[in-house]
Symmetry: C2
Subunit: 215 residues, 2 copies
Amino acid sequence: MPDATGQAAPKAKRPTRDERREEILAAATRVFGSKGYHQGSLVDVAAQVGITHAGVLHHFGSKDKLLWEVLEYRDRVDVQHLEGKHIPGGMELFRHLVTTARLNADRRGIVQAYAVLTGESVTDGHPASTWVAERFSVLRGEISQAVRELAAERDVTLPEGEPERAAAAVIAVMDGLQLQWLLDPEAVDLASATGFAIESILTATLGAAVRIAGS
Amino acid sequence: MPDATGQAAPKAKRPTRDERREEILAAATRVFGSKGYHQGSLVDVAAQVGITHAGVLHHFGSKDKLLWEVLEYRDRVDVQHLEGKHIPGGMELFRHLVTTARLNADRRGIVQAYAVLTGESVTDGHPASTWVAERFSVLRGEISQAVRELAAERDVTLPEGEPERAAAAVIAVMDGLQLQWLLDPEAVDLASATGFAIESILTATLGAAVRIAGS
DNA sequence: GCGGGCTTACTTACCAGTAAGTAAGTGTGG
DNA sequence: CCACACTTACTTACTGGTAAGTAAGCCCGC
């Protein structure tokens, strides 16, 4: 509807490219989070920012590419509250994990997106599967390293493979608790259950009571 | 699983209604397991038993109903190898959980189906969500009860809510490890990691070393 | 400082593919 | 002979993706 009268209505300023991309990424996170990747359509995403699905493709090229950027976006947002610091080590890391769990209890959308995409990723040929696998691998590396640091601090020598097993268990318990919490928030206290489980695993691994405390 | 599916046999005898239903359920388990519910189509399922998708609908009415029966079917199969017929309690339960994990390492398909459907179920309005939530709830009840039994045996009094927290953590760690194992079987030893994690949680909860041993 | 050309950010229209579901017809075993 | 298992043929509803057109902003010679 070209408006030749010059009677400029509320002149919605056209967003810049980067603003728009950010809007779309946020919308896509919500959509993929609430419907999953396959079930969430580009039309859904587009509707949330008030454009058409072709507009979304203009910015991201394909649905797959959009997913990739959503995943990276999540990482970016996730690290944001980490005050510019790089990933902490030793006990600091576990404190960070519990803190994240506490924060996550108020960010249902993001948790849901992560849970849905992770679950979906084990299907054959899913575009997110390598990302998720890589992520798990990196996390296991970081956490097992932190376990080794703690062991060194306390002069305990760990059996072969023990740090890795503990790391996998820590990640597993966090993911699993998120799932249960999403399905029944009343039944599971995300932060306290996470803290409890991590302390349990560390205590058993290091052979002495471990409290995470802090925060 | 009876039926050798002599699929090329020209004069194969027509399966009875119940045989056919069983075949379809097994096929649907494989399909939903490898592709997820939304991505797995009725055509896929039908092709696996050598009929058309309309034939599947003839037996199950709708895709949603098929999913429901698949879930019930899984329960039925799952309980089959549980000779005793009723769920064990106390330490016996935890032994059973670890044994199941060991068996699962050779049943990738079933594990995948469970993981995919569980993950998918947190999407809005998913037909399996109430089933999964219910399942979690029942499991938490059974496991927390077993924890209480162990505590009583050992004359420890547990803080309020501790059995439930431990139960949630046990379930979480099993689910989470399955996810990691599916994405990278080399990196995670399902059985040993599960045993380790459950022992850790029980030890921390009961305040004394717990070995599950057995099997 | 302003008109023209170029780029950006979309829209509309359409494509081919695939989904679930339905209705009606067909072959066959009992 | 006829109920049932199933197929064929179809509809309706979307999907992601493409092509082409358009309106708005931005830079530049003049």
